[in-house]
Subunit: 109 residues, 2 copies
DNA sequence: GAAAAAGGCAACTTTTTAGTTGCATGTTTC
DNA sequence: GAAACATGCAACTAAAAAGTTGCCTTTTTC
């Protein structure tokens, strides 16, 4: 399947999760592949730990990150396949536009 | 520039705009390259015309669509460069992850 | 085993967002 | 020029999101 691409209803929650600066920062910071604890992820921000926790739950809810408990801390890691799904959705939008432009060009010639 | 990629603060509003099913549908429908009037875009939905108008303004606010007045109607068209910017942001997240994975592999061998 | 560290849970406030209704304005069409 | 069409503007409601505070439980560390 080259152009299955999620339905807008399925993809929107993904973008909504990415559409908050705090959450997008978290995704960015986790994109180096390392798993991090909530405490660690709460360090470089002025938000409370609970606020960060909520954001992580949102990201986990749409599958952008996953968490595992390790002793007294819970580690969050990026789920790259889901990032890829969001990226692919936009790629399919781009491609549809490019195809349309191509057809227009062909028609003019 | 291969990896400029917007800052999370700059990119988040883009994803937020895409993070609503109605708006993502509008983007999808406009991705064929054709410009459409508000009335036209309001046809296949149960929302009121005003609601659709608001969504279009949000999309226009982040540069995902542009509008031009033509007589009594205003036509909205997709702004593919902005879609590309959002896509590229996610691509850079993906790539960062892939690179990290690559280094890990190299280290293990 | 007591103190410190990491986190979970729940109630609550504030702000933002989605959506509506009502009415006014500019354009076409007959 | 009157009716129909397309849109703009503003006030308002309702619901969701972001963030906080307070307190309780589990795990480490000395």
């Amino acid at each position: 399947m080259l152009n299955p691409s999620l339905s807008p209803d399925a993809a929107a929650p993904l973008f909504a999760a990415l559409g908050d600066p705090t959450r997008l920062s978290l995704v960015r910071r986790l994109s180096d592949g390392e798993a991090r604890s909530i405490a660690r992820l709460s360090e470089d921000t002025d938000l409370t730990r609970q606020a960060v926790t909520k954001h992580l739950k949102v990201l986990e809810g749409v599958g952008l990150v996953s968490s595992t408990r390790s002793g007294r801390e819970s580690l969050f890691a990026l789920q790259p396949e889901t990032v890829g799904a969001a990226r692919d959705y936009l790629a399919s939008v781009s491609r549809q536009w490019d195809d349309a432009l191509g057809r227009l060009r062909a028609f003019v010639e």
